[in-house]
Symmetry: C2
Subunit: 242 residues, 2 copies
């Protein structure tokens, strides 16, 4: 009979255990959007843990967009489970990009696939409001004297709206996060363009063509157009998209 295999114990930090318990409640569905958590002091007492440890766990969840905290007293005070936060995802991707986890090229490839998915779905039947929004955006982009910042904003909105029209929340959030994460690079790329006016009108024309294909219900054509649109842009702004 041999020595029983010793497993090295890993230190389990208190705030991580708090985090785990809260996360588990969310995963189990015992905590839903809108629910209110006990106060930091109560939670600490209930878990037999200091308020600081509780706070560290709550701050983490807050940074993930899972919780939101309000001071004061009454119904709305305290930590509540909050949904809808693309910001956390964007932030995460942006930081990981800065740490060179992902290359711009990787990101463009993923983006193309997401947009192809989006336009195919959108062409199959998009909401009227979404289409109207897309039309309004193309009109706005056609206005003269567009500066880099403003154009990027409209361009992003167009592509995000395109994804939203596909009725896929995950794809929409990912697209938003991706656009957000590369905002700086995009604007820098705009500056490198020789003839800005021409670029703006070219891109806007392509947007219009994509939109027309979607409205016509031609998903295949829209997918091709959107692919060329994105690839063409990156080819134009830098053969070496560093």
């Amino acid at each position: 009979m041999s020595e029983p295999e010793w497993r090295t114990v890993r230190p389990v930090r208190t705030h991580e255990q708090v985090l785990t318990q809260i996360q588990q409640k969310i995963l189990d569905g015992r905590l839903r959007v809108g629910d209110r958590l006990p106060s930091e002091r109560e939670l600490g007492e209930a878990l037999g843990v200091s308020r600081n440890s509780v706070r560290e766990a709550l701050r983490v969840l807050e940074s993930m967009g899972i919780l939101s905290a309000q001071v004061g007293s009454g119904r709305d005070a305290g930590s509540t489970v909050a949904g809808r936060s693309t910001a956390a995802l964007s932030n995460l991707l942006r930081l990981h990009m800065a740490l060179s986890q992902f290359s711009l090229e990787d990101l463009v490839d993923v983006r193309i696939e997401l947009e192809r998915l989006a336009v195919v779905r959108a062409a199959a039947g998009a909401d009227v409001g979404d289409l109207e929004r897309l039309r309004a955006l193309t009109r706005a982009m056609a206005e003269p004297g567009m500066d880099y910042e403003r154009f990027h904003e409209l361009d992003s909105e167009f592509h995000i709206a395109l994804t939203r029209a596909s009725d896929n929340a995950l794809a929409t959030d990912l697209m938003q996060a991706l656009r957000d994460a590369v905002k700086g690079e995009m604007i820098a790329a705009f500056r490198r363009v020789r003839d800005w006016e021409v670029m703006v009108s070219t891109l806007t024309e392509e947007h219009l063509a994509i939109l027309r294909a979607v409205e016509a219900g031609d998903g295949k054509e829209a997918a091709e157009l959107v692919t060329q649109h994105i690839k063409g842009f990156y080819a134009a702004v830098g053969d070496a998209p560093e």
Copy 2:
């Protein structure tokens, strides 16, 4: 001369300012992977802030996989900038799924697109090691007496390896996160399968076919196969993929 417009002041929390400063250093490239931060005490003093506030910021960054902390003294002690953490992304997606931000259907659609991208890229030229790994996984899956948990693990590894063969780090991490996020649902789906043995052999056969297409350099065929593979599975386990 009218009243100057009053702008409501937003409370700026200390730990958020700490967070912002560190993030900015990362985004500016002033902090890179492997760099070591000042100790919590020093950082607090340098920022004119309590150690608690510093800790809350550091814990948040740690939860995002950006930092890692080691106790003790010497070179390796303290907080260092760490790259490579898919766990944070998975966790974020899983929690948001639990809060019904994303439906399983959305996720499957995104997954299909990512895998199509992956196999096309992989077919165009995959690393020999990646292909060998994929072959090994198909062999492992063909072994008799596969239980749900084990099969899911191998299945996930196969699809992640497929993505890795495409040499797109973002797509790989997203795939890992997506698989991770739906692990529970997947195993539950496996349990619903009437003839498990048949399902295993069917899926494994399909894996082999996909792998063969990739090895043959036929990206288009591989993309079709992988799409059918995924759609087929979800159609089989539940007409209503709740």
